[in-house]
Symmetry: C2
Subunit: 244 residues, 2 copies
């Protein structure tokens, strides 16, 4: 039995001890408190000093825990006013993290694919909620686009596809997809370096997608979108294989 194996064997008998810092414990207790007291959006929470006394730790520790919760916008603080629970923003923090440089290749790939998945899956909601005026809006966007397929003109992409989600009336998705765009561009560009691909012959432009929306149904939309995104689907499938 090697030294390493011996250590692992011992470990299975003893289990490594985990040391939760005071801050960790306080954070947990705070979350428990909110739950137990059934505190809602807008409700005030105890003052820092009250928390210090109640838990018997320094204000330093309390404040570090609170900072964590403020970071995810679960609470907000105002001078003299105290702190309140807030409607947390699910996407907060994400914009700080969604930078190519700090994410692994695999996660980037995951997010790239996530956008593709969303574009395809939105169809049902899109058709359930679209109004005539929405079609007009989409056509207005088309007008501003150049005639040739502006495949990677981020502005156009953002505006057009963002509008799709807006029509589907899902605000979280609207914001999410706009965050994904830079990632998408990055992954795409990186893919391009591997092999310069040309547009497929039956490439579907935004205009054709609008047509599918106007005269079609979810299936037709998906068919158009799938072909619009085909180059990306091909790319991600190829690249995922490289990662393995």
């Amino acid at each position: 039995m090697s030294k390493r194996e011996g250590a692992r064997n011992l470990q299975s008998k003893l289990r490594p001890i985990i040391n939760y810092s005071l801050t960790d414990q306080v954070e947990t207790k705070l979350l428990e408190l909110f739950k137990k007291e059934d505190l809602r959006n807008g409700d005030a929470i105890p003052k820092e000093n009250e928390l210090c006394e109640a838990m018997g730790v320094s204000r330093t520790v309390i404040r570090e825990s609170l900072t964590r919760l403020k970071t995810i916008v679960l609470i907000e603080s105002k001078k003299n006013k105290g702190m309140i629970l807030t409607e947390p923003d699910l996407l907060i923090g994400l914009d700080k993290l969604l930078q190519p440089k700090i994410l692994s290749e695999e996660t980037l790939q995951d997010m790239f694919e996530m956008r593709l998945v969303l574009e395809m899956g939105i169809a049902e909601l899109l058709f359930a909620r679209i109004k005539p005026s929405d079609i007009a809006d989409l056509k207005a966007i088309l007008k501003t686009e150049k005639d040739y397929p502006a495949l990677f003109e981020m502005d156009f992409e953002a505006r057009f596809h963002g509008r799709i989600y807006e029509i589907a009336r899902n605000n979280t998705l609207v914001r999410f997809q706009s965050m994904l765009l830079p990632i998408f561009k990055y992954v795409h560009d990186k893919g391009l370096k591997l092999k310069d691909e040309e547009l497929p012959k039956n490439y579907v432009t935004h205009a054709l997608i609008v047509k599918a929306i106007e005269t079609g149904n979810p299936e037709k939309y998906r068919d158009a979108m799938k072909r619009h995104l085909k180059i990306h689907f091909d790319k991600t499938i190829k690249m995922r294989k490289l990662l393995e």
Copy 2:
């Protein structure tokens, strides 16, 4: 001109001043530093004391900024070792936030829909990557399920649908969807209270979805999944109207 209008008029001339706290500024500077120095995953960052000196602020402020970055797992710290940049976890924090009680009805609805969108949109990746052994796995899962449609048995739902994402080989999605499940259940249950709905006659079970995967294509999968989720699609469309 009313008092309120007057204030707004003044505001347009003066613009409200925004006061970035020291912590805010330090946080920004840190992020800039990481970018400028092109620091990557695993690279060490300066010691707390070095940062204090360099920026001329107290360790308190430095530490609060660092706490924020630690919260989103952009950096990690170890005693005596110092701090390093880490591969941040996009979904961290989300599990703290994804609790029905602290999210608004609208956001909950958004997330409910997001799951539906993902289930539908995953088809292409699913079929691009599925292997024969995956089919066998799915069938094994089916065996453990009861014969009747276990529509809201969370365990079954989680296992079955989670497996779908696993087959699609997108780990972020796997984790994301498992986080969404409690939300999904909550929103669904709340919807049930409004009106007790019965299963549609042509309800599609997991078994039928597997069949669509085994013998079909993305379109057939989506057709099956759409009918499997029909009750939920109907519900969200109805409920969104209520929110308006």
